[in-house]
């Protein structure tokens, strides 16, 4: 046997065994998240399952007769917030993304705006709450209105919507734009008729995910003062409101066990809205990746 082979011991069996152990550990770690998700859902379902009914959705919360409580005010408040936040944040976010990706010159100003958006996405939601409380609730005297809540949540989700929309615009190949310019379209005509239609499904995924984050948020609403006991549904954007995450938090704060169960039941209602939204968003993306032709 030559000296070279004597020094080189591949020890392949042992190395492969290490590799198998490592692969197992990585798989296990990846499954930790799923296991927690399952345990969490089972825990909530077990605690609150027996209170969820159509009547639970149609009754107002009650402190004196908790067994007759419901989430009507919180559910309607959350729906109001969702639609108004969507109405503000989606057009503004898409417009900002179109500007940054399709119009903006590559200069310092653009770089500054982009850096700013990236950093805004990392600002804690409670800081947005302080901003909303100071500007919307006090300075604009909107009080604890749906409008103040939706405006605050809109600022919170805007960076996420912009970043997701930009990614979707970036996925549209340049040949689309060049072909439109080639036949004499203006920039807006190009964007509107060719770039946006191709980018919309991808934007939709980002927008739905952002909205589902927004309606699960409680911290900014707590700061603007939404921690009140409300037993009416908002009829206009200026009315007081409560929301599902706030109602959950309120019930959790009560000492009696029945309120914990009501909180779990309200969590089931909230997840009953959020999980389908997530599923739709993920479904749209999967469908789009599947059929993408360019």
């Amino acid at each position: 046997m030559s000296t070279v082979t004597a020094q080189f011991e591949p020890r392949l069996a042992r190395r492969r065994a290490y590799g198998a152990v490592f692969a197992g550990v990585c798989l296990f770690m990846t499954l930790v998240g799923m296991v927690v998700l399952v345990v969490l859902l089972v825990n909530v379902a077990r605690d609150g399952g027996r209170w969820v009914s159509w009547g639970f959705l149609d009754r107002f919360p009650s402190r004196l007769t908790p067994e007759e409580s419901g989430v009507k005010s919180a559910l309607f408040g959350t729906l109001w917030l969702m639609f108004m936040t969507g109405a503000f944040a989606v057009p503004l976010g898409m417009a900002a993304a179109v500007y940054l990706h399709e119009y903006a010159p590559r200069n310092r100003m653009t770089r500054f705006i982009e850096l700013n958006i990236a950093n805004l996405a990392g600002v804690p939601s409670i800081v947005y709450g302080i901003l909303g409380m100071t500007i919307f609730t006090r300075m604009c005297s909107l009080g604890l209105s749906v409008l103040a809540g939706a405006a605050t949540l809109s600022l919170l989700v805007l960076p996420t919507v912009i970043i997701a929309s930009r990614e979707s615009l970036a996925a549209v190949p340049d040949s689309f734009r060049l072909a439109a310019y080639g036949v004499g379209a203006t920039r807006w005509q190009t964007v509107r008729a060719h770039v946006l239609p191709a980018a919309i499904p991808g934007m939709l995924t980002g927008v739905i995910l952002a909205m589902s984050r927004a309606i699960g948020e409680a911290a900014p609403l707590v700061v603007i003062g939404a921690l009140m006991f409300i037993t009416s549904i908002p009829k206009s954007p200026m009315d007081d409101f409560t929301a599902l995450p706030i109602q959950i938090f309120n019930w959790m704060d009560e000492p009696e066990i029945i309120f914990q169960e009501l909180a779990a039941a309200a969590i089931i209602v909230l997840l009953g809205i959020l999980l389908p939204m997530n599923a739709v968003a993920i479904g749209i993306r999967a469908w789009q990746q599947h059929k993408k032709a360019w």
Partner: protein, 299 residues
């Protein structure tokens, strides 16, 4: 459409889109302005200075004798965020390696959306989970002396909350490492483990560091789960079984009470908010610098 009208319309649309983009700059300016104005008023009080605020170890803004030393809140914040990282970094990193280098496409197509769903669970729900499951069923059996509200349960759920961030960013970083590097190593008869740990991990290290920093910033700013699980007891302790208060949960606690507008108690939330904003901003900026400057570039 006549050419002139068309040109005017193009111009108007351009300006409108520009102002939509500028709104984000206005938001940042608004945050800084709002926090700065009230913080300035807070520090204008004669018994408060920036130094005593940042170095004081007693936080008691509501009860006499009043004291405005923010260290207990900072300590609580870092205790929980640090504990969350202890959980999220190994799990997220291993999940990132698995997703990028081990998982077959089908498994990956299932696992990625599941992680997104985990990231989409509202934070109050994690708070509920901490209070009704983690503390009584996981921590209490091991450490019977644990209080109902404790830092450990908050750290665990915040850790779970940031696993998707770490996993997904690590996965992105590892997938950006070119195939040729991996194949060169395989050609030298490296095993999969060796390729993962000695080729892919070092090559994607800047992405991993950025992921950890971004996840840490998220953990620092997390409010509701921490408010629910960790209690509201500002104290300078490193014992994870004690109740603590964080910067964010202090702001939430004061907002829930009926502190009169304009009082010094009310101004504390702006000073604490400023500290929270600057802390998370610092970590975000460092993360972006790491990503931009230390990325290995391969053609």
């Amino acid at each position: 459409m006549p050419r002139g009208v068309l040109r005017v319309r193009e111009r108007l649309i351009h300006v409108g889109l520009f102002f939509s983009a500028l709104l984000s700059v206005a938001t940042t300016a608004g945050i800084i302005w709002v926090l700065a104005v009230e913080s300035f008023r807070f520090f204008a009080h004669k018994d408060v200075t920036v130094f005593s605020f940042l170095s004081g170890s007693n936080w008691s803004p509501l009860l006499e004798p009043r004291s405005y030393g923010v260290l207990p809140l900072v300590c609580g914040t870092f205790l929980i965020a640090g504990g969350a990282l202890l959980l999220a970094v190994p799990v997220g990193l291993a999940a990132g390696i698995f997703l990028s280098d081990y998982a077959p496409p089908r498994v990956r197509a299932f696992l990625k959306p599941t992680l997104e769903i985990l990231a989409g669970i509202p934070t109050v729900v994690y708070g509920y989970f901490a209070l009704t499951f983690v503390t009584p069923h996981l921590i209490k059996p091991l450490f019977p002396a644990t209080q109902v509200f404790n830092a450990a349960s908050a750290a665990i759920v915040v850790g779970v909350m940031i696993i998707p961030t770490v996993a997904s960013l690590c996965d992105d970083a590892f997938r950006a490492v070119p195939r040729t590097l991996r194949e060169a190593a395989y050609a030298l008869s490296a095993t999969r483990l060796e390729v993962s740990l000695r080729i892919v991990l070092p090559a994607g290290l800047s992405g991993v560091v950025a992921a950890v920093l971004l996840a840490f910033a998220r953990a620092v700013g997390e409010t509701m789960a921490v408010t629910i699980a960790a209690g509201s007891n500002p104290q300078l302790t490193l014992n994870p079984l004690d109740a603590v208060q964080t910067l964010a949960s202090y702001i939430a606690q004061i907002s829930m009470g009926d502190t009169p507008h304009g009082s010094i108690e009310y101004q504390t939330i702006y000073a604490v908010g400023m500290l929270l904003f600057l802390t998370t901003l610092a970590f975000n900026v460092i993360a972006h610098v790491v990503l931009g400057r230390f990325r290995e570039v391969y053609d």
